[in-house]
């Protein structure tokens, strides 16, 4: 019995030493031993083979499945004008005067039925569907037995992910977070100086690198010359809390957020010791002026790190960008937009907060194949003369959506919990009335 436990302890020590030397040390110093790359190559080859097998099997049957979009229907995408024109043109008798026809309502009714079947907003809060299955149980929509080999690979995948990769990743994540708390607290004891500043940055980046390895994250950074500088605000689209790890792997940012209790609270307090972040009490968050003032103060102090903000306010599933809240755009600082796009083939990064708690979400992340994402740094943007905050926010949002290949939506992500305003309906009515009545006063008005 004793030997057994001694053996287990010995194995654990070997395990730890291996982790430290092969993963942690390279992470701390920012170089790579090529282990992840090898893993990714093997993974890609396996998934390609799986896709081919599934395709060969499906080729015999004529299947009509849902495609990469989340939708059940394909929207025409035609504008109101075009479609109404089409309806009017094919009439048996041309209209005598005025531009209203009884068939005009067909357009609205179809749009309405389209939204009932599948609306643009709700589908953004569920995970993106894949074109081809990636051998994960969770993305399996209609699994059919294809071949013994495929099932074996699938089973092997489960074993590898849950028994080998997951413990490894959990260990790394724990080490990373512990080191973050210890490291930042230690640096906090030093007096304010350049050395402290440099050390604090180094500790932060190092710990985030370890966490990134803990998720098997492969991140490609593009356009690094546009990286956010001090005194600015970095703005990005939000998919999950992991966005922070992704961005902080390549630079140091000041975080903004509510003070939490528990583990998060410990992290927050530790981080703020080594360099200033902006943490708000719950009561302070309601006071918009206070919030703006504190952010402004932080931004105006040129020695402080750029602030990282996610203006959507909620997690979206990485196929689109929803309305940006204007608060951060009213401060008058330089905005550095960043677009983050995850590759869903290797693991779904979206956090569906109504479905999963934070812990189960992280566990799901750690049992995916990997996390592959692209980060684009966009050139800095400033609020122009006479431009209001909402317009500026929309401009930044379009730039991010365009770069990341995401759909630019006007809807407010917070709407998944609240009601819609009447202004959208008015817009539709305005558009339609300009077609019917037009801006001609020479119409037949009695």
């Amino acid at each position: 019995m004793e030997d057994f436990w001694a053996g287990v302890l010995w194995a654990l020590r070997i395990w730890l030493y291996l982790i430290i030397s092969l993963i942690m040390i390279p992470a701390m110093f920012g170089f790579s031993l090529g282990i992840s790359e090898t893993y990714m190559t093997i993974l890609v080859k396996t998934l390609e083979w799986a896709t081919l097998s599934i395709q060969k099997a499906n080729a015999e049957e004529e299947k009509v499945n849902a495609s990469a979009s989340n939708g059940l229907i394909q929207r025409e995408g035609g504008s109101m004008e075009k479609e109404l024109e089409e309806l009017r043109r094919s009439r048996p008798k041309p209209p005598e005067g005025g531009d209203f026809t009884l068939s005009d309502c067909f357009y609205f009714s179809r749009r309405g039925i389209e939204s009932i079947v599948d609306d643009e907003v709700t589908q953004r809060f569920t995970s993106e569907e894949l074109v081809s299955w990636n051998l994960l149980t969770r993305t399996n929509n209609d699994f059919q037995y294809i071949s013994l080999k495929l099932t074996l690979v699938y089973g092997l995948g489960i074993f590898v992910r849950y028994c080998i990769l997951a413990p490894l990743r959990i260990t790394l994540a724990c080490i990373g977070l512990t080191w973050l708390v210890i490291g930042t607290s230690a640096v906090g004891f030093l007096p304010n100086s350049r050395v402290k500043f440099w050390l604090s940055e180094w500790v932060h980046v190092m710990c985030y690198r370890i966490c990134a390895r803990g998720l098997s994250a492969t991140i490609h950074y593009h356009n690094r010359e546009n990286k956010p500088k001090k005194g600015g605000i970095c703005v990005a689209n939000h998919t999950s809390p992991i966005d922070i790890v992704i961005l902080c792997n390549d630079g140091c940012y000041a975080m903004v957020g509510q003070v939490h209790g528990g583990l998060m609270g410990i992290l927050q307090r530790a981080m703020v010791r080594s360099c200033p972040h902006v943490w708000f009490e719950r009561s302070e968050m309601k006071d918009r002026h206070l919030v703006t003032k504190r952010l402004k103060d932080h931004v105006n102090d040129k020695t402080k790190l750029p602030i990282l903000i996610f203006p959507e306010g909620t997690c979206i599933n990485n196929t689109s960008v929803m309305m940006f809240k204007k608060g951060s755009f009213e401060i008058g600082a330089t905005i550095y937009p960043v677009a983050i796009k995850y590759d869903p083939k290797f693991g779904d990064a979206f956090w569906n907060s109504s479905k999963y708690s934070m812990v189960s979400y992280l566990l799901r992340m750690m049992t995916s194949w990997a996390l592959v994402c692209n980060v684009w740094y966009l050139p800095a943007m400033h609020q122009q003369e006479g431009e209001d905050a909402v317009h500026f926010a929309n401009r930044v949002k379009s730039a991010i959506a365009h770069q990341g290949g995401l759909i630019d939506l006007q809807w407010d992500g917070g709407l998944k919990r609240a009601k819609v305003k009447d202004t959208f309906k008015e817009q539709q009515q305005k558009k339609y009335s300009s077609m019917v009545v037009g801006d001609d006063s020479s119409g037949n008005s009695d």
Partner: protein
């Protein structure tokens, strides 16, 4: 009673959608459940469209009825075998027009009265036109369509002034499997 040919996969997706709207898990939908569809509140005649799902006097709609209404929006088969004994399938031209007719004819008396037409126009145009403009538009529309001069538009009159080609306004295209995209192995290597 109605011929609905929706594929099994689509039916499953529609059922998931039905369940999504049925937040309290009652097995049927009520008019309030449609408020979960945010885009519908942008639609000027959103309320009428929701009404179209409910039979007169009924306050709930179950899944088969839900699908029956949506079946109107499948593409019309061009060369359908017109059996005298068989009822029209949901996606025939006549049924589609009937669906649209009912959007106007709220009280289901078989005619679109002047008042009903004014109501729809007011909904579609909102506050963007004056009362006089509204009246003149309605007047013109009735004059054009009302062949028997009884001051209202019956279904047959509606059919005659309706478009010959219902075109894309009455079709929801369902999405197909993008087989071509996946066949290239670059799917896994790209991006």
């Amino acid at each position: 009673m109605f011929l609905i040919s929706v594929s099994a996969a689509h039916l499953l997706r529609l059922y998931e959608r039905f369940q999504f709207l049925d937040k309290d898990n009652r097995g049927h939908l009520r008019p309030e459940d449609f408020e979960a569809v945010l885009e519908l509140s942008e639609n000027p005649i959103g309320d009428r469209i929701v009404e179209a799902f409910f039979k007169p006097g009924q306050e709930t709609v179950d899944f088969p009825s839900f699908v029956r209404v949506l079946a109107h929006f499948r593409p019309t088969e061009k060369n359908r075998n017109r059996d005298k004994g068989q009822p029209d399938p949901a996606n025939s031209r006549t049924r589609k027009l009937k669906f649209a007719f009912r959007l106007y004819d709220r009280d289901r008396d078989g005619k679109i009265s002047r008042a009903e037409l004014l109501q729809v126009l007011r909904e579609m145009l909102g506050m963007q036109v004056t009362e006089e403009q509204l009246q003149s538009i309605a007047e013109r529309a009735i004059q054009e369509a009302d062949l028997d001069k009884d001051g209202a538009i019956s279904f047959d009159e509606f059919r005659k002034v309706g478009p010959l080609e219902l075109g894309s306004a009455f079709i929801l295209l369902t999405v197909r499997h993008l087989n071509d995209e996946v066949s290239s192995l670059s799917y896994w290597r790209s991006g």
